[in-house]
């Protein structure tokens, strides 16, 4: 049983398919499932494999699993099997708690460009749990050992697909950067950043405006140029870390201030008075 579950999980995971693991963690009264019973459920609320109980439980668990895949949050579902009015409507008897754990494919980090900033960013991205794609004619697997994919045709090739869970960093220092940014904006990427000086960033924005992406659209897409949090980064490695920090911030939220400042601003007392 375990073996089946794990090999199926492996298979789903390597395909990049999202799914949820539902595990019975507590049983009260009689029930067809026991603690430890598991099921794998896909994004369309279908049971792929396993068993967490019969009809009355299954519907609730499948629905909740689908929700958890959508919002990315694990949850515990309590099913009261005796309550006909507020429960699931079938007097099976007893109660059951099911833990639901969504397993989502890693977010994508697509880096256009090569060089020390791009190389370090690819490593940081991998460490932070991203699946890293490097799009650049000059990129090699020696320079980017942590990249899952290297696309020599470049960022604007059809091979590079951008989704809502894609984080894009344009670090080519090329003339065609505005085309890459445009592609990322139009595909609705989660994060778009341009590694550039303020002067060159403005130039790229001007090109974008000429290409039909106005300021409003730019602001809406929240294009970050220059890329990265303003932490005074000087070396390529420090710049890569400032970009990675910004990616985490965009993904998770937060003010970007130091934790101590953020805490003081939220009005709570500091540790030492």
């Amino acid at each position: 049983m375990y073996r089946d579950i794990f090999s199926t999980m492996n298979e789903l995971s390597s395909r990049g398919a999202p799914f949820a693991i539902a595990t019975v963690i507590e049983i009260g009264g009689s029930g067809s499932a026991k603690p430890g019973s598991k099921a794998l459920i896909d994004a369309d609320a279908r049971v792929i494999l396993g068993w967490v109980g019969g009809g009355c439980v299954e519907n609730v668990v499948r629905q909740e699993a689908m929700e958890s895949i959508k919002d990315g949050r694990p949850r515990i579902v309590s099913v009261d099997l005796t309550d006909e009015v507020f429960g699931v409507g079938m007097p099976c008897g007893g109660m059951m708690k099911v833990y639901i754990d969504p397993i989502l494919p890693p977010p994508q980090l697509v880096i256009a460009g090569h060089g020390r900033i791009a190389e370090t960013l690819a490593l940081f991205g991998k460490i932070a749990g991203f699946s890293v794609t490097v799009a650049d004619p000059g990129a090699t697997s020696e320079a980017f050992p942590t990249a899952s994919r290297i696309v020599s045709a470049g960022f604007n090739s059809a091979e590079i697909k951008i989704g809502e869970d894609t984080y894009v960093v344009v670090a080519t220092q090329h003339k065609a950067d505005h085309l890459s940014i445009k592609k990322a904006i139009e595909a609705g990427a989660a994060y778009i950043a341009l590694v550039a000086s303020r002067t060159r960033a403005q130039l790229v924005f001007d090109y974008l405006a000429a290409g039909g992406i106005d300021e409003g659209r730019l602001a809406q897409a929240n294009v970050r140029a220059p890329a990265g949090l303003d932490i005074g980064a000087e070396t390529p490695e420090e710049i890569a870390l400032s970009i990675m920090s910004e990616i985490v911030l965009v993904r998770r939220g937060g003010s970007g201030r130091t934790m101590l400042e953020a805490k003081e601003m939220s009005g709570s007392r500091t540790v030492l008075e």
Binding site: T235, S245, V248
Partner: protein, 326 residues
């Protein structure tokens, strides 16, 4: 000649000593230093190599010490001209030797990498080690029970909380990432140091509890108040890797904030006047090596030659107090 230079550089590098390299890049005769002449200036002001004569050397040493302090390379231009337009990264001096020549010297600081000292073997500690090494820090991990396999990238492992044997005069950043294994012991050692950054990875409630405990044990309140807890930047970091990223972002922020870096450079030479002006001829004199000296009304005067000293001593009151060149 170049071999001596290279050997000296290599030795200082491997000892982790900060120094600056000075190279003459342009000259306008008559001056004694020629393009390609090189010297190494150490943090105590000691100079080895050759970049020119007595009036140039004190300037080079002074600017080299500044470069070691602020970490920025610069071009030093020494010309007979008196009016200079300000140029970014260029320090201008008036040539006070009388020959009328000019020279330009490029000075570049070579600093040992900053140290990242991690206490503990938690997952955050492991991620910090990996990320810190990639950024270029000299990474030291301290604490009992460390597993080399979990800290492959570390430059040094220390099987103890006791870090008194480490060279913490170097620019050092400390992160206490024990997460339940020796929190008190590790933080107690960390606050004994005098480094610019000590952070403690813990929830605010736990941090407060442990800080109070250490205060009760007699830890210096100022040292405790410098501990950053909660640590890192507010990017809502989730999981050990993201926490490590937020901590390193805070370290870079502090490191690059423009405040002088904490390094316990030898103060004697750096704070002594490394520059004096001969009140008779206006030449720059190195007080450390000057042999012609006079005292007048509680002030010390340095001279380039016995002739100047003699001239001064005849009528000291008629000579204005010279101000050092800008």
């Amino acid at each position: 000649m170049f071999d001596d230079f290279l050997a000296k550089v290599t030795a200082l590098r491997s000892d982790g000593c900060p120094f600056a390299v000075a190279i003459v890049v342009r000259f306008q005769p008559p001056v004694s230093g020629k393009p390609g002449d090189k010297a190494i200036v150490q943090a105590d002001g000691q100079i080895s190599g050759w970049i020119g004569g007595g009036c140039v050397q004190p300037i080079v040493v002074r600017e080299a010490l500044r470069a070691i302090e602020d970490g920025k390379p610069k071009l030093v231009r020494i010309t007979p001209a008196r009016d200079f337009g300000a140029e970014y990264g260029v320090a201008n001096y008036t040539m006070t030797c009388h020959g009328g020549g000019a020279m330009e010297i490029y000075i570049e600081p070579v600093l040992p990498p900053a140290q990242l000292l991690i206490f503990g073997r938690s997952l955050v500690a492991q991620a910090l080690c990996k990320l810190g090494k990639t950024i270029g820090y000299f990474v030291i991990v301290a604490g009992p029970g460390l597993d080399r396999l979990q800290f492959r990238e570390a430059d040094r492992l220390l099987e103890s909380w006791d870090v008194r044997g480490l060279n913490l005069d170097r620019e050092t950043y400390i992160v206490v990432s024990t997460q339940g294994e020796g929190d008190e012991e590790a933080l107690e050692q960390a606050v004994l140091t005098n480094v610019p950054y000590v952070s403690f990875i813990a929830s605010p409630a736990k941090a407060e509890k442990i800080v109070q405990f250490l205060a009760g044990r007699g830890a210096v309140p100022e040292a405790l108040s410098r501990v950053k807890a909660p640590a890192g930047l507010d990017i809502r970091a989730l999981g050990p890797e993201e926490i490590a990223i937020s901590i390193l972002a805070e370290i870079i922020l502090i490191r690059r904030s423009g405040k002088p870096l904490h390094r316990n450079l030898p103060q004697s030479e750096a704070s002594a006047p490394i520059h004096a002006v001969d009140p008779i001829c206006g030449m720059t004199v190195d007080p450390g090596s000057a042999t012609h000296i006079s005292e007048y009304k509680g002030r010390t005067y340095y001279f380039c030659s016995a002739g100047c000293k003699h001239e001064f001593d005849k009528q000291p009151e008629t000579h204005p107090i010279p101000s050092p060149p800008a």
